[in-house]
Structure formats: structure tokens, C-alpha cells
């Protein structure tokens, strides 16, 4: 009991430091600490594309400016892609009220394969269909899966290396900090 005040004092200091770090990190985009597996990737404007999703709806990247975009390339035959899907769903649930769009692109498979795959792993994610694989060729991901993060102005800012635990607080908080930094600059 005698040590409690000291412990509380230390806790308070730690909490103050933590929140100060959060505020600082959120003040400008470049100050945000990237979690393991995500790297700065400033390659300029995102190459535009127009693709249809599995429901036949058309999506054009250039018309999606204004939100952060999580652009994710995947294929059903890729083991890490399969493992990563539920974590993307978890992250999507955590981010659904934010100005944030998840754009999935399946690489060079047909609707039947994709529909069967997505229903088999119990996720509610839609995906664009890069039927001939040519959009993927332009974007040149390092491998599958690969994720790019595009800012509201349409510039590519980050690249995720391989599959990540997107549903974990480390990554969700990082994404929320990105949004916060943009809101503060508006």
C-alpha cells in the first residue's frame, strides 16, 4: 500500500507520455510511426484503373479520392492471402465508420473461383476482378498478398510487406492515426 502512490505516479507519467506521443504522431502524416511490415512508399500518384467487382459494379480509382484507400492484391491460390482475409475483415469492422475504403483486387482468377473462395472463408468482403491480370501488372506488387495505402489526394504513401495481422490494435491504430493526420490538415 505504501508504494501505491508511487506506482500511480509512474502510471500517470506513462499515460501522459503515451497520449503525448499519440497527439504528436497524429499531428502530421510523416510523424506517424509505421508498424512492422509497413514501409514508406512515396511513389506519387496512384496509377488509375477501372475494374468491376463480383457483383458487376464498376469502380474507378480516380473517382475515389477523398478517403484513404487500402488497396489489396490477392489470389485464392496464395496461402498467406487466405490467412490474411479474416484479419482484413476484422479491420474492416473496426474501420467501418471512418473515411476509409478497402479495395480488394483479385489477380487473374474467374468469378466462380473467387465467389467459392470468399464464401468458404466466411468473410463479407467484396473484391474487384482483375480478370486478365493487367492491372496487377501495372501496380507490380512485391508478391501476393500486397497492400498499398493511398492518401485522400490519390498519392501512394505506404506498402505492406506480405500478409499482416490487420485486425490487431497495432495496425488498426496506425490506420486511424493516418485518418486523424489527414483530418487535422483539412
Amino acid at each position: 500500500m505504501k508504494h501505491l502512490p508511487k506506482i500511480f505516479h509512474l502510471l500517470l507519467i506513462s499515460l501522459s507520455l503515451l497520449s503525448a506521443e499519440t497527439v504528436f504522431a497524429g499531428s502530421t502524416g510523416s510523424d506517424i510511426k509505421t508498424p512492422f511490415g509497413i514501409r514508406d512508399y512515396n511513389i506519387g500518384m496512384a496509377p488509375d484503373f477501372t475494374l468491376q467487382d463480383i457483383d458487376g459494379e464498376t469502380f474507378e480509382l480516380a473517382k475515389a479520392k477523398g478517403d484513404w484507400i487500402f488497396l489489396h492484391f490477392w489470389a485464392s491460390w496464395c496461402g498467406p492471402c487466405r490467412e490474411e482475409m479474416p484479419t482484413i475483415q476484422k479491420m474492416a469492422d473496426a474501420m467501418q465508420k471512418e473515411n476509409f475504403r478497402i479495395v480488394m483486387i483479385n489477380t487473374a482468377e474467374d468469378e466462380d473461383t473467387v465467389f467459392e473462395f470468399l464464401s468458404g472463408i466466411d468473410v463479407e468482403l467484396n473484391t474487384l476482378m482483375d480478370l486478365d491480370g493487367q492491372v496487377t501488372e501495372v501496380w507490380k506488387p512485391r508478391g501476393l498478398p500486397t497492400t498499398f495505402l493511398i492518401d485522400p489526394q490519390g498519392e501512394v504513401k505506404y506498402q505492406a510487406i506480405g500478409g499482416r495481422e490487420w485486425g490487431e490494435p497495432l495496425y488498426v491504430n496506425f490506420l486511424k492515426q493516418l485518418l486523424l493526420s489527414t483530418d487535422e490538415r483539412r
Partner: protein, 180 residues
């Protein structure tokens, strides 16, 4: 009788190549590389399930597929460049075809673009800068041989490839064959 059976089993395994074509894992302080030989049946089943044309599968089933995974365990960049990988079997060089060779071949056969694309994504990249902690992989395709395959592979390190060169060697790779 039991002893006789035990003697026969290893012999059969050698004859079918199944014992030889085991995964190989090479570890250094900086790298971990695993090699997993794939049987022709495994590969043609994979490509058939994805709608690859028979003509394409017939060519692929005559090749030697080895799936390679590379993990960078160091704190600096490690550069994969397959032009620095040298294969040999039975004392003779074993030529690995560049992905451009396969691209041209599929184009000449008018293979659909989607299949060409999937094929390319299943290959080990010709070059890649592995970031610390990064794991990427893909298939190596070699001409089929029933002999042991030796490999000497070099990797540049550092941001501008100016660090020390890492070299790994093995003489324990084999092509996998279908069970008889």
C-alpha cells in the same frame, strides 16, 4: 521376413526418387531459405485447377519445380538476384530459364493473359530487395534431372548493395517425381 520388407522399402523410395526429393532448409545468421521440390502431379493439378490449357500443362509437367521461400533475418536489405544463382547436376551446369523465356513461350502459344499472369505470380522473382523480416517466395523451374542438383547462390546486402556478399551452397536438391 520383417527385415526383408524393411530392406525393400528404402530401395523403392530411392527408385521412385521420393526419398531424395525432400525439403531442404538452409540457415545462416542472415537468411533462411527453404526449398520444397514439387512433383509433376502436384504442379499439373495446381495449374489444371486454375484452368491452364493442356498444352501449357504438358510443357510444365516435364519441368522440375522447386518452391523456394526466403526470409531475411538480418537488419539490412538483402538482394535476391537469380542471375547470381548457379545450378549444376552431375558436374554440368543446369540452365534455369529466365521468366522472360516463359513469357515469350506462352505468348507464342497464345495462352490467355490471365493464365500468363497467374503463372508469373507463382514464380520466384528474378530480383527483389528483401527488407528486414520480409519473407517472400515462389517457384524455381529447372530442366528435369534425376541427379542431385548443386546450387551456389549469392546475395548482395545493404541499401546500395555495398555490404558483404552472402553465399549459400547446397548439393542436396532433387527434382521430385510422381510415385510409381
Amino acid at each position: 521376413m520383417r527385415k526383408k520388407i524393411l530392406n525393400i522399402i528404402p530401395l523403392l523410395l530411392v527408385v521412385t526418387g521420393m526419398q531424395a526429393a525432400q525439403p531442404v532448409i538452409l540457415k545462416t545468421p542472415e537468411l533462411e531459405i527453404d526449398f520444397t521440390p514439387r512433383t509433376p502431379n502436384q504442379m499439373t493439378s495446381f495449374y489444371e485447377a486454375r484452368g491452364f490449357p493442356k498444352a501449357m500443362r504438358d510443357i510444365l509437367k516435364k519441368q522440375c519445380f522447386i518452391t523456394v521461400g526466403i526470409l531475411n533475418k538480418s537488419n539490412e536489405k538483402i538482394w535476391l538476384d537469380l542471375s547470381g544463382w548457379h545450378f549444376s547436376a552431375d558436374g554440368k551446369p543446369l540452365k534455369r530459364e529466365h521468366r522472360d523465356y516463359w513469357k515469350k513461350r506462352w505468348q507464342n502459344m497464345a495462352v490467355p493473359l490471365s493464365k500468363q499472369s497467374t503463372f508469373r505470380w507463382t514464380l520466384l522473382p528474378e530480383t527483389l530487395d528483401y527488407l528486414p523480416g520480409e519473407h517472400e517466395g515462389g517457384n524455381l523451374i529447372l530442366p528435369f534431372t534425376d541427379k542431385a542438383i548443386s546450387l551456389t547462390a549469392s546475395f548482395a546486402t545493404g541499401e546500395n548493395k555495398q555490404g558483404k556478399t552472402l553465399t549459400i551452397t547446397t548439393d542436396k536438391l532433387f527434382c521430385a517425381e510422381d510415385a510409381q
